[in-house]
Subunit: 377 residues, 2 copies
Amino acid sequence: MADDPLNMSAADAVLFSREDPMSFARGGRLDEIHVRYETYGTLNDSKTNAVFICHALTGDAHAAGIREGETKPGWWDSMIGPGKPIDTDAVFVICPNLLGGCQGTTGPSSIDPATGQSYGLDFPILDMADFVTVHRKLIAYLGIPTLLAVVGGSLGGMQVLHWALTAPQDMGNAVIIAASSRLTAQNIAFSAVAREAIMRDAGFSHGHYLEEGTSPDAGMSIARMMAHITYMSEDALGSKFGREPQNVDLTPGFGVDFAIESYLRHQAEVFLDRFDALSYLYLSRVMDYFDPFADEDACAKLAARPIPVLVCSFTSDWRFSSAQSKRIVARLVRSGIPATYREIRSDAGHDSFLLPIPEYGDVVAAFLARGLQEVSS
Amino acid sequence: MADDPLNMSAADAVLFSREDPMSFARGGRLDEIHVRYETYGTLNDSKTNAVFICHALTGDAHAAGIREGETKPGWWDSMIGPGKPIDTDAVFVICPNLLGGCQGTTGPSSIDPATGQSYGLDFPILDMADFVTVHRKLIAYLGIPTLLAVVGGSLGGMQVLHWALTAPQDMGNAVIIAASSRLTAQNIAFSAVAREAIMRDAGFSHGHYLEEGTSPDAGMSIARMMAHITYMSEDALGSKFGREPQNVDLTPGFGVDFAIESYLRHQAEVFLDRFDALSYLYLSRVMDYFDPFADEDACAKLAARPIPVLVCSFTSDWRFSSAQSKRIVARLVRSGIPATYREIRSDAGHDSFLLPIPEYGDVVAAFLARGLQEVSS
C-alpha cells in the first residue's frame, strides 16, 4: 500500500461460456470473451464505491499509474489517482480493455479457437450494446451489484450513454464526456477515409495480415495522422506548431519539413507499435452507427429509474462539438432525467478530455463526491 | 460566333528555349515549357480587355463552356461566359493549365527529353514564383502588354497575390478569392497526410509509376476524399447527406453504407480519371511554402504602382477562412494599396468560390465592370 498508493492491479477474466455465450447485437456468437482489466483503489465492504471506466477508441485497460519498466503513465492518469478527480483514496476504479480491442481483450485479431487463425473480418460486426453486454458481465463477475458511477470520454462516453439508457439500475451516476449521441456526416466522412486507408493498404491482406506476415502500416499511419488533426483545435495546432520548421530552416521537398509534419509522423509511428488495424476498423465503425435517440422510447428506462447524469464538452472540440453534447442533455432533460451540462473552456480540442484542466477536474470531482456521499450516508 | 457565343478556343504554346530557359525559383532549369490554354471572348483592338484566370489545385485550362463530346462544362462556367460576372461579351479570357499540372502543361509526369522518361520526382520543386514566371511568359507570347485583371480562387488566388506583389505593372486589377497568404498548421497537416497517402502507396513507385505501369490509386483516393471533407462546411455535409443511408436501410459492415461515403468514393473515382499523383504532390507543396508577407518589403512594388485589389472570402470556408483573407487585406491596406474586402455568406464551404452565388457574382462583376470602364474611357 505504501509502495503503491494507487493500489494498481491488472487481471484477466474469462466471461461467458458455451452454455452462456456472448450474443452479438447484430448477429454472431462467441463462447468465450477474454477481458483484460485494471483496478485501482480499494472496494469498500458494502461494494458501493466502484467507478467503472469506459475507454475511448484507442484506449486500453491501463488508465492510470506507471507499469513496471515504463515511464509513461496510463491514458487517464490526470483523472484517476489519489486526490485526483476520480479519487482512488475514496473509490475503487475498474477499467477494462474494450471488446474488439487489441490490448488483452477478445477482438478481431484474437485467435478463433475453431480455426486456429485470427478472426479477421469474420469477427462479428460490433454494436455499442455489445460493449455494454461485456461490461455488465464483468461487474457481475466482480460481484458488484451497483456501480457508484460509470465514466467515459469520446467513444467511452457513448458507452456510458448506452449503458445508462439500457440498464440504469447498474449505476448510481453517469458521466458522459466529449461524446455524441449521433455522429455528423463530417464525422462519418473522416471515419470512412480512415477505413479506406487501412483496407486499401496491400498490407491489410483482407484482414489476415497476422497470418500473412504483412502489416497495413501506411494505412494505419494515415488514419492516425488524420485523426490527430481532428483531435486538436486549429488554434492549438497554430500555437503549438505554427509554421515552424522542424530543423533550423525550411528546406522545401517532399519529406518532413514543418514541425507539425514531424509531430504527425511521430504520432503515427508510436501508434503502430500499440494498436491493431482490425480493432481500429471495428471500434470506429461502432461509432458511425450509434444513434440511440432514433428510438422515441430511448429514455423510458432511465426516466423510470433516473440517475444523475453529468455531460461535459469542450469549447474547441470540433470532432465532438458542444452541440452534440447539448443534444444529449436536451433529450435527457426532456424525459425528466436530471442531467447537468458543463461546457469547459479549452483550446485543446477533442484531446481536452484527456488533459488535467482544472475546471474540468473540479466538475467531475464534485459530481462524484456528491454521489459517493449519497451512498455512504 | 452564332454557333459559339463563348468563342471558346484551345491552344498550346511552347514557351522558353535553350537560349532563354525557364529558371525555377528553388533551382533547376528547363529549356521548354509547354502550356495548354483556353481563351473565351474576343480581344479588343487596343488589347486592354484581357482577363487572366489562375486555376486552383486540381483545375485546368478548361474553365468554361462545353467541349465536343462532353456534357459537363468547365470548372468556372458559373463565373465565365456571356452575361456572367466575367463577361465574355465584353472581355477576353485566358486560362492556362498550371506549370506542374497534368492537363497539357509541362509537369512532373511529362517526358524529360533528356531521358525519355517522365521527370517524376526529379522535376524541380515548384514555387509560386514559377507559376507567375510562366503566366508572364504566356501573356508576352500572346502580345498583351497589360491585363485588365488577373483573377483566381484558392491556389489561383495565391498566384494572383504573388503576381500583383511582384509584377503589378502587368495588370490593372486583381481579384483574390478564397485564398491565403500563409497556410495554417492545420492546412499543412492535411496536406502532409495527403502526401503521405500518395507517396506510401506502393503503386507510386517512387514517382515512376508511368514507366512501371503502376498507379497510386488508393493513395490518391484517400487524398481526394480527405480534401473533399475540408472543402465542404460541416453544415453543408449535414444538410446534403446527414446520416442518410446510400440504399434503403443501413446495413452495417465495412463497405459503403452511408450516402456521404458513397459521395466521397465517387469523388475519388472521377478524380483518378483526370488527375495525376505527381502533379498533386508538386502543386499542393507550393501552397505549404507560400508566405509572401514574411518579407517586410513584400508590398513595396505594389504600393509604388498600386492597383485595385478585390479580396473575397466565404463565411463557411474552413480550409481558407475569412481570417486568412482579412490578413491579406490588412497587409495591403497598411501599405496604402486600395484593397476591397467582401465576405460572402455561404454554407458551401471552400467550394463556394466555384459556385454561382448571386452576391459573389455581383461583386466580381461590378469590380471588373469598373475596371473595364476605366480602360475604355
